[in-house]
Symmetry: C2
């Protein structure tokens, strides 16, 4: 029996994910069944289930992927001295996220809109969304602590609240980019004008 290479497993995994993104983009998250994902990927139920036992697993992997893209920039900024101030940090994060995801056949940040809606009603999906949001908010909090030290925030500012706002600003672009065609540059210019 031949050994299946790591690269083959990763490619297969990606093939299934992209099929799921096409289904979600076309039908929405709720109306997509695992059967739709089998058909779209051209793989058997067994082959798909081996990687993703449920729709929730597809969402978790997709969301972790998006968080991972953002994490690359967060880690780089957290390792930088002096720390980039809020507007510069937002620009780096959003430009990188936009560049990586808009190169995909299906922009997976668009899937986020479907997943947020589903999370209102489905506690399992909400749990996944919460975990990923906490991860991103946590990175903004680490940056906010550095901003406080560097004087980019007024003394006594709460890094938790600042982190929630920065996450909200990210979300506000994702929605407007997909629904109204707002560009990352214009949006970040607006934030820059408003920020200290």
């Amino acid at each position: 029996m031949p050994r299946v290479s790591e690269a083959h497993l990763a490619a297969r995994r990606q093939q299934i994910l992209e099929a799921a993104w096409r289904c979600f983009a076309r039908q929405g998250f709720h109306a997509t069944s695992m059967q739709d994902v089998f058909a779209e990927s051209g793989l058997s139920a067994g082959a798909v289930y081996r990687y993703f036992p449920s729709k929730a697993d597809l969402v978790r992997t997709t969301a972790e992927g998006i968080a991972g893209i953002a994490d690359d920039v967060f880690l780089e900024m957290l390792a930088t001295d002096p720390v980039p101030p809020p507007a510069a940090a937002l620009r780096r994060t959003l430009v990188h996220l936009t560049e990586v995801t808009s190169g995909d056949e299906i922009d997976r940040t668009k899937i986020a809109l479907h997943v947020w809606a589903e999370a209102v009603r489905d506690t399992e999906i909400r749990g996944i969304v919460t975990t990923i949001a906490d991860r991103l908010v946590g990175r903004w909090r680490q940056l906010a602590e550095r901003w406080l030290e560097a004087g980019h925030l007024p003394p006594g500012a709460d890094p938790d609240h600042v982190a929630r706002t920065m996450y909200g600003v990210m979300v506000g672009l994702v929605i407007q980019r997909h629904l109204f065609g707002v560009t990352t540059d214009d949006y970040v210019d607006g934030f820059t004008a408003l920020s200290r």
Copy 2:
């Protein structure tokens, strides 16, 4: 034949809207049919269609209602001299919006998450969402023009970009309030710390 009073018509209209919000909150927007709205409202198809010929009409009225709530605050702030600066204006708008909508049996801003997701795929819904967003962004733009005159923004800042960011900050709270229980106060505190 008795004349039907204005008050009766308004009450009937509200009864149908609230039934639709319960359906959307329970099943999501896509999975809710007009038949579900008839059943939930306890009214006949004819009675419902008289007010709302389609799901899109329910969405339009709901979205116009939310914009109307925000408009009360916008008009008041635009009539104020000196104009409230960005963080104060955001606080007034979000506190008012939260107070009015959280008093409803179903918080209709939660429906927005379903409608944004649907707007990704459905061009009619996207048209409605775009119209309402343009109205809110237009109000933020009017405020941004005043902020520019008052020196709350750096010279040369583009009021359009600032308005997009302010709308994005609103959206970022709506999502986090419903999914993660973030409070309006904490969120606006974060924005205040970040803003000029």
